[in-house]
Subunit: 138 residues, 6 copies
C-alpha cells in the first residue's frame, strides 16, 4: 500500500454568503469573506490516491491519467472562475473550503477508484494559513 | 545604506478586461483572465525601503510604522475586495499586476519617504509563477 | 468528517537542558541546543480540528473562533518569549519540541472540543528540517 | 505517542524504464521520463518515527541518531548518484518514486525500530507537484 | 519602467566535468558533482523582462508570449534531458549553473527584446541553497 | 559578470534592547522584541558574490570555498547562540537585523574579494515577513 499525491493549482473568486440569512447575519458569521463583490484565492489542492504498486509499471497510478481526470473534472471548471456563479456542480452550495473539498471528491471518486487503488484524500489550501482535508469518511 | 523588506498578504478578485475593447478582443488578449464573473488570487506583496541605519534604534525604519502605513493605505482597501469595483484608487484602472504595483506605489511613497529613507520597490506576486516589481523610475 | 487546519507562527527562545543532569551530560545529549545563553526559532504550528460540516455555516468550526482560542491560550504566552523562564504552563518542563506539542495540546483541547468537533492534531515545525506531531493518543 | 519528522535532501538522476519492455512501450508508459540519457531531481524526503517521549531526554529519538542512520544507509549512497546504475539496493529495481520509497524503508526500518519507537512513514517529493508516501503496511 | 518575472521549472541531469582535465583534477574541483553516471536537479528559473506598461493592455509583455518563447527555445530542449549530451546549444559547454544561465540568455534575448522591453535577468536555482543570476552585462 | 548565491541557515536568540535607554523607552521602540529574557529566530541568510566565470572551472567561485568562509567566520559563531552575549563581533552592537547584516559583511568581505570576484550582498530573513539586505555601499 503506497500513497501518491499530485498537486494542482487554480485561481478562483468566491463570496462566502448564505442566501437564507440576512446580510447582517452573513457579515456576523463570515466577516469580510461575505463582501458583496467577492474576493479570490490561489487554491492549492493535493489529491492522494492509495493503492498497490503495479509490478510492471512501478506505479500506483499513472500520474498523467490522474492529472487528466482531475483537470477535466475539476480544474477546467473552476480555474479563473467564480465559484458562486460559474461552476455547475457548486450550484446552490455555499463555497466554504469544506464544501469545496466535498464537492470535488464527488466529481472524481468514481473515475479514480478501481480494484487496486482508491481516492484517499483531497487537501485544499485556501491561504497559506488555512486548509481543509476530506477523505470521504463519515 | 540598508534595504529592509516587509511582506504583506491579501486576497482579492479581479477581472482583467479593457472596457474600450470588445469582448472578443478582451478574450484574445487576456484569455481566461477576462472571464465575466472574475476570479481571484492570494497576492503576496514585498515593500522595500532603503535608508541609513539610525544609530539610536538600529533600524532603517520601525517595521510597525511601515506596517501601519501599508495596512491603512492599501491592505484595508484591497483585502477580500474586488479590484475592479471596490477600491477607490483603482477606479478606471485596468487591474493588471503592473498597474496594481504602480497604483500601490502612489498610495504610500510620500508617507514613507523622509530625508533618511526612501520607498525603494514594491514587488507583487500574483501566483507562484508570476510577479511584478516597480521602483518608481521611468 | 472534515479536517480543518489553521497555521500559527511564533518566535521564541529556549535552552534544551535537563537540570537534573550535569552540564557534560546535557552537552552529550543536546549538543549546541544546551548552550547556556539559549538560542531561538521561528516556530510554525498547524492546529487541526476534525468534525462535521455545519449545514448553516458550511464550516467545521469558525476559523476566527479557533484563532481566538489558540492566540489567547498559547500564542500570547509564548511569542517573543523564553520557553524556559517566561511561560506558566511550561514551568518545570524540558522544552523539547515533543514536550511543547503535548503542553500546547493540554491548553486548548477542552476549549475546542464539542459534540461535533474534536482537536485532532498539533504539528510544530522547529526548523525547516525538524517537526513534531501530537494527536493526544497513547 | 508522538510523531517526529526529519527532512533530508538529495539530488539524483534516473531513467524510468522497464528493460523487459520495448522502447516504444516504455515511451508510451513513461513519456519523457524514459528519455535514454536520463534526467534528475532534487528529492525531498521526510522520515517520520512514532514513539513515546523519553522522560529523561524529552525526545522520541535523538535527531542526530536518526540523521546518522538515514545518512549512512541512504543519503551517502544516492546523493549525486544515478539511481539506475550506482546504488546497490536499487539493483534491478525500476526507479519509480513508489519503488524508491519502499526500498528506502527496507534500508532503515530495523535500524530505527526499538521497543519504544517505530519507523512510521517515508514521504518522498520528486517534484513540487508529485510525492509518494509509504508506511510499511500492506 | 516595470519588471515582470515568470517562473519556469525543469528537471534535468548533468555531470560537472571538464574533459580537458584528468578524473582526479575533476574530482578535486567538482567533488561528487563529477560522479561518472551523473546526477540531477529540479531547476527553477525566473526570467525577468523590463519595460514600459502598454496603455492598451496594462502589460509590459503578454505572459503567454513570454511563456511561448521560453518553452520553445529552452524548456522543451532541457526538461527531462541530460545537459551534457542531449541539448544542442550546450554542446561543448561545461554545465555549471553559471554557464547554463549564460547559454539560456543567448537563446531568448533577441526573441524578447523590442523597442519597449528588454530581457533583464535570468535567475536559476539549482538547489534550495544554490542559485545563479545573469543579466547580460560584463 | 554573474551573481552566485549560497543560502545559509542558523538559529539564534536575541533581545532588541538599547542599554543607554530606559526600559520604558526600549519597550516603546521595540515592543515585545525587548522582552527581558529574549526570544529567537531561524534566520535565513543569502550571500551573493559577483564575478567573472572562470573558463577552466565554469564557476564564479567554488561554492565549497564560499561555504567554508561563511561557516567558519559567521555560522559557527552565531548558530544556536545568543546574539547579545555569545558572539565576539556583536559585542556592544544592538542586534537589529540591520546591524547583524552589516557586522556579517565585515567578517567575510576581505576573505571573499579577489581581482575577479566581489562580495555583492548579504540578505537576512528574520521571519517569513521581515528581511534586510546590505551591499556595503553608503
Amino acid at each position: 500500500m503506497v500513497y501518491i499525491t499530485r498537486r494542482f493549482n487554480f485561481s478562483a473568486s468566491h463570496r462566502v454568503y448564505n442566501p437564507s440569512l440576512s446580510d447582517e447575519e452573513n457579515f456576523k458569521i463570515y466577516g469580510k469573506c461575505s463582501n458583496p463583490n467577492g474576493h479570490g484565492h490561489n487554491y492549492i489542492m493535493d489529491v492522494t490516491v492509495a493503492g498497490e504498486v503495479d509490478s510492471k509499471t512501478g506505479f500506483v497510478m499513472d500520474l498523467s491519467e490522474l492529472k487528466g481526470i482531475v483537470t477535466s473534472s475539476i480544474i477546467k471548471k473552476v480555474d479563473h472562475r467564480n465559484l458562486n456563479t460559474d461552476v455547475d456542480f457548486m450550484n446552490g452550495v455555499l463555497p466554504s473550503t469544506e464544501n469545496i473539498a466535498i464537492k470535488f471528491w464527488e466529481q472524481i471518486e468514481k473515475k479514480i477508484n478501481t480494484d487496486k487503488r482508491k481516492l484517499h484524500s483531497i487537501k485544499i489550501q485556501e491561504t497559506v494559513n488555512n486548509s481543509v482535508e476530506y477523505n470521504g469518511k463519515k
